[in-house]
């Protein structure tokens, strides 16, 4: 998102753009920011204020639902957690559920999950345009320092409440951890972008699942039943192409972009495990390696600058694995050479590829999340994978590695 900082600078009326330049520290060329960054002033807000706001949101949702004929319920099993989405009417359902449709549970599949029982997390979802019911004004509206770097509202006790506003399509996310209650409001369902449809509710799921020892992780995951390889790296590193190349092999697919990791430290799990979260695979513009996937794109009638994405559960249901134990970590890089090769790499190389791109993507990245990732790279062998242009070699190389490490 190179435009993002320009955007915020423009929004705030700042004349000078932040720039990244190459500099030299002790003889080594490195990426250096020239941005002068002033710390935000400390903000303290009473959590009772946020809790009252949450109660107001809940009442507002009920009014919105009444205005459009009632509540529509959809239940999902995400990494073993029963998560109920309650929609005011049906307007937002088609925008908010395709990316997690493979995790949907029905009364027939899970008779215990009925409307009379309490799910692990409930998320109320509505939009202002179709219901005519907007959220109450924010109690922090007069505070010029209320918002943090991800649009999160600062100052509340985050062990209890988290709130963020998504400025890209005007959406409010609210989570009350003690009540396992969340609200997601968007001004106009028509403004929900394709990337939210492909990977919905990232912020709320990240906040709530982290309290369950499940860490929202920017990584792809493929493997065999006995164990999988976690592919780590920032966007464009090749992890998505690698995961999608494995659809033509015997390897199972868990994710190509985001997955949930059960942490060793917090959950006490005997081994780290990666769980499926989204079945959507975005195809980068200019990716010439996967032309056969383009006709399968869910958003066929997309805007010219919108990325196509494929709902893999619709086309490759047999390939999707709900979870796999993590037996190896791979740091991919594209070589332009035909062959694919795997070699051991340092744990710190894997941590550098994994941690920043995960932590900086969503609000709430903290010490505990970083420590979990450090524990992961300590516990699991790390490799670099030099990705060749002969895509058929990639799953073979990964399968060979996995057979070695799980034996």
């Amino acid at each position: 998102m190179p435009w993002l900082r320009e955007l915020f600078a423009a929004t705030c009326g700042l004349g000078e753009m932040a720039r990244d330049v190459c500099s030299n520290i002790f003889g080594v060329d490195v990426m250096v920011s020239t941005t002068p960054i002033e710390p935000l002033p400390e903000v303290r807000r009473e959590v009772t204020e946020a809790l009252r706001y949450g109660e107001a949101l809940e009442r507002t949702f009920e009014r919105a639902a009444n205005a459009v004929g009632g509540v529509e319920v959809r239940d999902f099993a995400i990494a073993g957690c029963a998560i109920r989405l309650r929609f005011a009417g049906s307007a937002a359902i088609a925008k908010m559920t395709p990316g997690i449709a493979h995790l949907a549970i029905t009364a027939a599949e899970a008779p215990s999950l009925t409307p009379d029982l309490t799910p692990d997390l409930t998320i109320d979802i509505w939009d202002g345009a179709s219901t005519g019911v907007e959220v109450p004004p924010a109690p922090w509206r007069d505070d010029p320092n209320a918002y943090g770097a991800h649009g999160e509202v600062r100052g509340y006790d985050e062990t209890r409440v988290s709130i963020a506003f998504n400025m890209f399509f005007d959406a409010l996310s609210f989570l009350d951890r003690d009540r396992d209650y969340a609200a997601f409001y968007v001004r106009d369902v028509a403004a929900i972008p394709f990337w939210e449809t492909a990977a919905p509710l990232r912020v709320l799921l990240h906040w709530w699942l982290s309290g369950r020892g499940l860490h929202f992780t920017h990584a792809a995951m493929v493997g065999i039943e006995a164990g999988g390889a976690l592919l780590v790296g920032k966007g464009g590193s090749g992890k998505s192409t690698t995961a999608l190349a494995c659809l033509d092999s015997d390897l199972r697919y868990v994710s190509d972009d985001y997955c949930l990791l059960s942490g060793c430290l917090l959950s006490g799990a005997p081994e780290p495990r990666a769980y499926s979260l989204y079945s959507s695979a975005k195809i980068r513009p200019g990716n010439t390696h996967l032309p056969h996937l383009l006709p399968l794109a869910y958003n066929q009638e997309r805007e010219p600058d919108e990325k196509p994405f494929v709902l893999l559960h619709e086309h490759f249901p047999e390939k999707l694995a709900p979870s796999l134990p993590v037996k190896a970590i791979l740091v991919p890089h594209v070589t332009g050479q035909p062959d694919t090769q795997i070699a051991p790499t340092k744990a710190t190389a894997a941590l550098l590829a994994l941690a920043p791109s995960t932590i900086f993507q969503l609000p709430g990245g903290d010490t505990a999340q970083f420590q979990e990732m450090a524990a992961l790279v300590r516990a699991v062998p790390c490799y670099s994978i030099a990705l060749g242009t002969d895509l058929a070699q990639i799953p073979r190389a990964i399968a060979t590695l996995l057979e070695q490490v799980v034996s």
Binding site: F8, F26, P193, W195, K346, T348, F360, A374
Partner: protein, 153 residues
């Protein structure tokens, strides 16, 4: 060298770090920057974490390396300057009695000047400039061109 007797601490909670197999990864959560240190830099970092002053680190290195001279001492001083300038550490009011023991008991076998690698490629994910512009209801807003740009996510 004027500050060689100062004691520093990691600038938590904004800064987190982990040392694994003699190398350290550091993240400045607030600034959107991340770093890693080579083995000697990592040794120095763990000593700083444990409450050692620059003078104490220099003394330990001088004991370890026969060739530890002025140039080597300068490279260590530069690392101290850099981690202070980057706000990865801040001056501690007093030695932290509960500080973690150093993860690296001894420096690397041979002296190789400490290096701090710095990466700024994730800063674009953060709105580093404060968000002050909100509407009457309290919601921040973006200009239309930004909303258009978001389609490229």
């Amino acid at each position: 060298m004027a500050n060689a007797s100062r004691i520093f601490r990691v600038n938590a909670p904004d800064v987190v770090s982990e040392t694994i197999d003699g190398e350290t990864v550091i993240i400045h959560l607030f600034k959107g920057l991340y770093y890693n240190l080579n083995p000697l830099g990592s040794y120095v970092w763990t000593q700083v974490e444990a409450g050692a002053t620059q003078a104490e680190v220099r003394e330990r290195l001088a004991q370890q390396y026969a060739n530890f001279g002025e140039a080597e001492a300068t490279s260590v001083a530069q690392l101290f300057e850099k981690i202070v300038a980057e706000e990865l550490v801040v001056e501690a009011e007093c030695a932290d009695a509960g500080a973690e023991p150093p993860a690296i008991a001894t420096p690397p076998e041979t002296f190789e000047a400490p290096v701090l690698y710095k990466y700024a490629d994730m800063q674009d994910m953060l709105a580093l400039d404060p968000i002050h512009d909100v509407d009457e209801a309290g919601w921040p807003s973006l200009p239309p061109e930004a909303v258009e740009a978001s389609k490229t996510f």
